[in-house]
């Protein structure tokens, strides 16, 4: 039976969410990071989490749940608040 510890999942999701909300598309830079980048990121995140194992010294899931929670949090943050294309303001 798989036991899931909610502590690292909630804190990981929260930190990832905060970071994800800061992502903006900057059209002036000429680069556009579309959905494929995030799809690739989530696949790589799952592979890395599986390679890390049930870090740190947990024996709940076969992958690092905090790592996956942070990745999911970044994607959720990007989808909810990170959709704007506001350019970076360098001075007040």
């Amino acid at each position: 039976m798989i036991t899931v510890y909610i502590g690292p999942i909630i804190l990981g999701l929260l930190l990832g969410f905060v970071l994800g909300t800061r992502i903006r598309d900057v059209p002036e830079s000429g680069l556009k990071f579309n959905a494929s980048v995030y799809l690739l990121f989530i696949i790589v995140a799952f592979i890395m989490a599986y390679a890390l194992g049930p870090f740190p010294y947990y024996i709940d899931t076969p992958f690092a749940s905090g790592f996956v929670a942070a990745a999911v949090g970044i994607i959720l943050g990007k989808l909810t608040f990170g959709r704007g294309t506001k350019p970076q303001k360098t001075e007040d």
Binding site: V26, F41, Y58, Q88, T90
Partner: protein, 170 residues
């Protein structure tokens, strides 16, 4: 910066951020913690700032955001310290573990960290320190990059003034 770097750095920064978060979350039982994890997240943000530049960075780090996160980190730390003082009489007492058995069970359950180690407030302190360090280190680099741009702008305006002065003399 080269196009290869511009394509590679953003996804790499996301992965580095996740590793930083994992370092923060494992701080109470593994090497690492709030400072180290926060520094790793800051490194990812700085990586983006260096490669894309301050204006074109995909992470929009406004002054308000940096100030808010820094304040939230400090307030969480102070709140946990004062909570220990209020409920046990000791500043920063680990209410979730309660080794002296002086705290009501309800309070102990509130501050408990739901993982097999039941480390109490330590993971929350790591979280707060992680937020502060992440923002602090990133703000230093943003400030330096901002000064550089300001210096560049002021040099250009000095050149314009010199040209104007020379024109007047002639």
């Amino acid at each position: 910066m080269s196009t290869i770097l511009k394509i590679f750095v953003f996804p790499a920064a996301l992965v580095i951020m996740c590793l930083g978060v994992l370092t923060i979350l494992g701080g109470h039982i593994t090497p690492g913690g709030g400072f180290q994890g926060g520094a790793m997240i800051a490194a990812a943000l700085i990586f983006c700032l260096i490669v894309y530049g301050l204006k074109d960075s995909p992470f929009h780090l406004s002054h308000d955001f940096l100030a808010a996160i820094e304040s939230i980190g400090a307030l969480i730390f102070v709140f946990l310290g004062i909570a220990g003082l209020v409920f046990s009489g000791f500043y920063l007492y680990n209410l979730g573990v309660d080794i002296y058995n002086i705290v009501p069970v309800a309070i102990k359950n509130i501050f408990d960290y739901p993982d097999p180690t039941h480390a109490g407030i330590l993971p929350y302190l790591n979280f707060a320190v992680g937020l502060k360090v992440m923002v602090g280190l990133t703000a230093v680099v943003i400030a330096f990059m901002g000064f550089k741009e300001y210096e560049k702008g002021s040099n250009e305006s000095d050149d314009e003034f010199e040209e104007l002065d020379e024109g007047e003399v002639e």
